[in-house]
Amino acid sequence: MTNQERKRVDPLPMKETKHGDTVLEARGITKRYPGVVANDHIDFEIKAGEIHAILGENGAGKTTLMKILFGLVQPDEGEIFVFGEKVNFKTPLDAIHLGIGMVHQDRKLIPAHSVLENIILGHPRAGNILDLKTTAEEITGLCDKYGFNLDLKAKVWQLSEGEKQVVEILKALYRGAKILILDEPTSALAPPEIQKLLASIKIMTGDDLALVPFITHKLPIVLTVSNRVTVLRRGKVTGRLQTKDATENSLAMEMVGREVVFRLERVEVDRGKPILQVENLSAINDKGFQALKDISFSVHEGEIFGIAGVSGNGQQVLAEVLAGLRKVLRGKVLLEGIDVTHSSSLDKWLKGMGYIPSERVNVGSISDYSLVDNVLMNYYFDDEFSRWGILDYKKIRKLTEEIISEYGVAVPGPDTAAKSLSGGNLQKVILARVFTRKPRLIIANLPTQGLDVGATEFVQNKLLEAKKEGAGILLISEDLDEVLSLSDRVAPIYEGEFMGIIPVDQASREDIGAMMAGLKHRVAGI
């Protein structure tokens, strides 16, 4: 693109920036929502050529700040300066025109279109007639420059999560973004993909692009790539650090406000009799494809059996089949020796299964319900809580109050609606509700996904506690570190098949990572 073309494209031509110039500055950003101050006088600046990570727990105000910087939300107070000029974003389009790009966590791409078509969608130069050849050349140029390896003709549905992310980044760059906001850039990626992304990010900053990744909990990533870190807690800036002066522990302290243990003490529990036995299990997903292919394994008393995999490889289907929410195609499932292959979900709850679903909001809770009614979801069917069909609300309220105090759920009271809870607090309620039933088998599907450091630590310790008490736990996770630190045995899953079942002390991080990407394990082990 020549300079002249650029001028025609961008209503406000960007100034040439050089390394170290302040490109974006926010002063005193304040945003209030009913009952909460999401952003409380936040000051923050970013320079060209720097990676400035924003770190914070859920509910710390990261999302709000990000939306304000991208024009999705207007602040109540405060000023934003881009390239030294005061701006007032009304819509994201205003931000895009000034060279701010955003890569959302939930991809906003059209699956049936090719990579190229997605990138030029909405681009000012894509008028009525598309000049695919020139644009393709320009985009290939961008790819070469930043080390992205991408087939522009591929359809987006064929891409992995990491590749989709690259498409989003390219899209922003091609529109001329100088400041790139990344929302949880690594959350859905497999370990090898994360490495690739980080390498590209490094190259981008060399080109005087400014990057602002918003990250909840992957502290090691913050430490490897960023130059500076701003830490938010409860809407306020609690720390501004140079990354070279920070450690994982110091960052976590700033974020949570207290010391966080990173090494979980794995208790050795004698493995008891099998609680869950799965034989040659197959099932199909919503699209009608076979998503589970002849899976066999067992989970024993006092054991955490970890399933590691990148999302979409059948682990969701497996969890739903075991919880009685999806039909079995072939195979057999035994719960404490009893055949429950075709049992209903209710039947399984009554027989001692406890399911912690990955979709906290849509499956695990009801937003409009109070906490009392939400706790009731796993109890209404117990005789203890109803008589002659009338619910004993006194009892269930007492249980809810106990759960709130025991699990430290930060809410005004049991009548609070679930929709006003943060992700971490909601997960505590769901977890507590399941654990209090003392289930024999716990199916924990992505139990810490999207949780901050403090809540993650809490959930993981609760799982270990349940293990100590003799429950069998099936842990499904996309976080390799979590699987390795919690499980006794690990089964990497790829396209509906286990790539092996390995005792965790014989598993190396690299091997498991490779197996998650589809390589069969050299050592056969069951």
Binding site: S345, L346, N362, S365, I366, L376, Y380, G389
Partner: protein
Amino acid sequence: MKLGSYEVKLEKKLKVAGWEAAAISILAILIALALVSFIFLQAKVNPLIGYKEIFSFAFTNKFGLPLTINRSIFILLCTCAFIVPMKAGLWNIGMAGQLYAGALGAFAVAFAVGAKESPNLTLSSGIVIPLMMVGAMLGGALIGAIPGFLKGSFNTNEIVVTMMLNSITFWLVAYMIKDGGPFMGGGGEGEGYKLPESIFAPQIFGGPFTVLIALGLAAFLYFTFTRSKIGYQIKTFGLSPTAARYAGISSFKIPLLVFIIGGLIAGLAGYHNFAAVPGVYKITQNYGNYGDLSFYGIICGLISQQNPLAAIPIALLFGGLTNGGRYVQGKLKLGFGIDYALLGVLMITLVFFQFFYRYKIVWKKIDKEV
């Protein structure tokens, strides 16, 4: 939005208090009445006099009040028939068909005990009347079960199915009461046979005893949806079918159940209208009008936010306005359809004002930018 030096913004409300909801509804009613005033003015009638006539006939006149009450019982039953499936997130648009089937059920029982042939029944009325009500409930429940079953097993759209069943049962009634059908009355006027006096529904305070059923049912449903296990399951399913499945609630049983109950209640509305309202006691020639009237149950159900107790005053208001509107049309020689216009405008304002259940308008003075 900017208005002069003020900024007007909409803010989401987190919760609506009961009194607030009531105040909003009353304001909506007043505005509807103000709007309909223009129709009166256009007909050169003083709106105040028009409204005085409507309300005094509907609520104080000794001929008008019983009509209002009978009409309101009917609307309240239809409202309850709508609310039960709505609590499960399902739309019952089939109260018309269900109440026709209820009427057929009741008259089928009477027919079976020989009420068409002779006024002297061998069975006592203490047995026949309850049986007729059971017949009405079964008829309504049977028609209701169809959309419920189809929803539960094949996830069929319940709105389409209930609407189609309205048409089917409408013609089924026509077949039964017209042109030599088995339930045809003796007069040859295309209406059903008349019940013998011995099995007229008993009266209480000068009106049909079904008033107790309607009020009792509203209270019972209120209790069911606040305290009972089954009410909890229905509500949970209604708020989130996926979460309900997770909690072990059957996504087959709940749709089936709510439509059976809804149909059963609508069946009772059919019993009330054709076998309990004084002076009727037969399936009338214009039975289709009552099917149309049952659609007010949807409006009442939505306005009352699916609260069966709140539906009582709303059903009374609608019953009174349909009744008084029709009366004033004749009395003041207004154009045809003033009652429909009044109810139509009322519905629109009430639905529009529901907006204020969720949002509030905030005025803020804009600081002059320096």
